[in-house]
Amino acid sequence: MFGQQNLSTRRILLAWLLVTPVVLWRLLTSVYPFLRTFYISFFDNSPVRRTFDFVGLDNYMALTRDTNVDATLTFTLFFTVTSVALQVVLGLAIAELLNQRFKMRNFTRAVNLLPWAMAPIVIATAARWIFHQDYGLINDIIWRLSGERPLWLVNFTTARFAVTITDVWKNTAFLAVIFLSGLQGIPLELYEAAKIDGADGARSYWYITLPLLMPLIISMIIFTAIFRVLTFEIVYALTNGGPGTATSLLSYLVYLEGFRVLNFGYASAIAMLLFFIVLIVGVLGYGFLRRAWERL
């Protein structure tokens, strides 16, 4: 008995020994930076001004008065909801298409992934030219058809559309592949049984495909929404947050305050706001996910 206990203890100790480096690494690279950011958010900390003064909740109060934060939160919400909705709907549609039998299907599946495989900064930089009034590909087509040259990145609404659609174009491919794997996991017998019962394609999709895919869809909505809230590169390279602050996202605001003007304290407060938004999205998403699993 004692021998068994010793063996068990030794195994536990060995297990801890093996995972300790990883745990320490994660503590060092994730938990410490998080706690440090939280701590700094209560200070007026600027290396340029050589300040590290405790200011309590001042940085958080400043968030409530900052018009940039208002504008940024508004666009972050718009961008997240619109982009996620479009990506999920288009992703499901593309997945359905890629799940059909046709020639060069594997090649098409690979091509579908190309936008996702490209670096966001590259896509955003290219998009900056694509949306340019005079030299842009999009305006060239529109001009040939209508003689008009819209000012995509000057107009408030179209600039928001440009940022969103660029993000959707880049990332929908990934969702499509994930949904495709989900579709392939649904037993064909279910569709055959439905067909015998007289269900057409639309009803099968509604009553079989969607319910069975729902946990996967919710999972992807959670991840995609979190990534959208954290998006940075597209705004950085495509619009610089403009016109004005119309396309500024929270992570871009953190970058501006933290790395451009070196207000580490205030940037940390914005980062904590970002964290709580991601936390809320995660918790709500998890709740939906659990219910979806329970229904299955």
């Binding site: 290396p47 340029v48 001004r49 050589r50 018009t67 940039n68 340019h132 009034q133 005079d134 030299y135 000012l151 990145l153 000057v154 107009n155 408030f156 610089n240 947050g241 403009g242 016109p243 004005g244 602050t245 119309a246 501006l256 790395f259 451009r260 003007v261 070196l262 207000n263």
Partner: protein
């Protein structure tokens, strides 16, 4: 490579190579914030004995577009027997600034000296990351009177301490297409009213030609536009709440929104796209950094007699333009302080500084501007000389340690006005609500 060889090389450059060089030069000039620290010339002061053991100097130089700088390094190595490790910084200004900020904030010991701009001198100087250069000036007997004083006092120093010695001059000049002016039968405008009249005569929207180019995208370039236009109205980027600045901003917007002498895409144009448009014959006038002018004129075959410059038209308050520079700063955390000082001193020498003409740039020392070789290879130098002789026509940007924050606040709000999201009053009020506390913090 000899100086003659450099000159010969620049003259025989192909059109394709020129365009590549011009593009790189444009990107370089584009985001110019200018200003740098310098040190004393070893040869002029008798120099120091070469060390018995060669030492290694680590420098960072931003966005060189040809091999002229290697010649500078070779000369330094020959004279001192030291070894220079030369790192090319990222060409994108913001990336470059972040790279240096990260290094300096972490107490970097791997960089001894670097090519710094107007913003960096004040920001990093105030943070204590740069070495004061007064001892270098004294050691190498540098005559700072040979520099435009606004560059020395307003953008290379902070709180009375010199952190950079200017090396390459950058001044915004009004350049124009002489052939367009001749064809339209107009002369360079002398005030804002004439600017609109001349611009209107030069604009042919059907042909895709506009009287004036504006680069009003946010990210630094709109900030420069705000500064030089509001300055002529009697304001500044950190002083927008007055009639002069308001008039200037309204006038600026009217150039594309009302008079249509600039494309309505102005709020999204950056230096790169404007320069591309200039090369595509889209614009007749452009008020921008003289580095672009050099890039246009250094290829004599392509741009001969098509481009010239005039003194800025008179605004409601003055006819000033903005100036700045790039220069050399010594890193405070460098373990090689003497070596860094020696490099700064070396680059401050007239003969060394002059080598920038092989890339079409004007050296920062005023005494070099009348040099025929400088006037030949750095074609904006005669216009800078005109500005200098006219007196009081150049003014550095109002740089303080929080200048980036001020630029961001002004740009975001003015851009919202330029793109019809808010009124002028709303934009000015919102901008100054942010800028005033910053100024109070910086200036007390």
């Amino acid at each position: 490579m000899t100086r003659k060889a450099h000159a010969s090389q620049s003259r025989s450059v192909s059109r394709r190579a020129f365009l590549k060089t011009a593009g790189a030069g444009a990107a370089f000039a584009a985001l110019s914030a200018c200003a740098a620290p310098v040190a004393a010339p070893m040869e002029e002061t008798g120099g120091e004995e070469a060390m018995a053991e060669p030492q290694e100097l680590n420098i960072v130089y931003w966005a060189d577009s040809n091999d002229f700088f290697q010649g500078v390094i070779d000369q330094y190595q020959e004279e001192t027997s030291n070894i220079v490790n030369y790192e090319v910084a990222p060409a994108v200004y913001i990336e470059w600034q972040q790279m240096m900020t990260t290094r300096l904030a972490s107490g970097d010991t791997g960089t001894d000296a670097f090519h710094s701009d107007d913003f960096q001198a004040a920001i990093y100087g105030a943070a204590g990351w740069l070495s004061p250069l007064e001892p270098v000036v004294e050691l190498y007997d540098i005559d700072l009177d040979d520099w435009p004083q606004t560059l020395i006092h307003d953008v290379s120093s902070w709180d009375g301490v010199l952190y950079r010695i200017p090396w390459g001059n950058d001044t915004e000049i009004f350049f124009y297409r002489t052939d367009y002016f001749e064809e339209a039968g107009v002369s360079p405008p002398t005030d804002w009213n004439e600017l609109v009249e001349v611009g209107t005569a030069l604009t042919d929207e059907d042909a895709g030609v506009y009287g004036i180019a504006l680069s009003a995208t946010i990210g630094g370039q709109l900030g420069n536009e705000i500064q030089h236009w509001t300055n002529q109205g009697g304001g500044a980027i950190n002083n927008l709440d007055n009639d002069g600045a308001r008039e200037a901003l309204a006038f600026y917007k009217a150039l594309y929104a009302e008079h249509n002498i600039a494309p309505d895409s102005a709020p999204q144009e950056d230096y790169s796209s404007v320069f591309q448009g200039w090369l595509s014959d889209k614009y007749a006038m452009w008020w921008c950094w003289d580095g672009f002018f050099g890039a246009m004129r250094t290829n004599e075959e392509f741009w001969a007699d098509q481009v010239s410059a005039f003194l800025p038209p008179m605004g409601p308050d003055n006819a000033e333009t903005i100036t700045g520079c790039w220069g050399w700063s010594a890193v405070a955390s460098s373990p090689n302080q003497d070596l860094a000082a020696e490099w700064v001193g070396f680059t401050a020498r007239s003969d060394v500084m002059k080598q920038q003409i092989y890339r079409g740039r004007v050296p920062a020392r005023v005494s070099l501007w009348a040099d025929p070789e400088v006037q030949d290879l750095a074609p904006s130098s005669p216009f800078l000389l005109d500005l200098a002789e006219a007196g009081g026509l150049v003014k550095a940007r109002p740089v303080t340690p929080s200048i980036q924050e001020i630029y961001d606040a002004a740009e975001q709000n003015v851009h919202a006005y330029l793109t019809d999201q808010v009124s002028l009053d709303e934009a000015v009020t919102a901008a100054m609500d942010k800028i005033n506390p910053i100024l109070e913090r910086d200036l007390g």
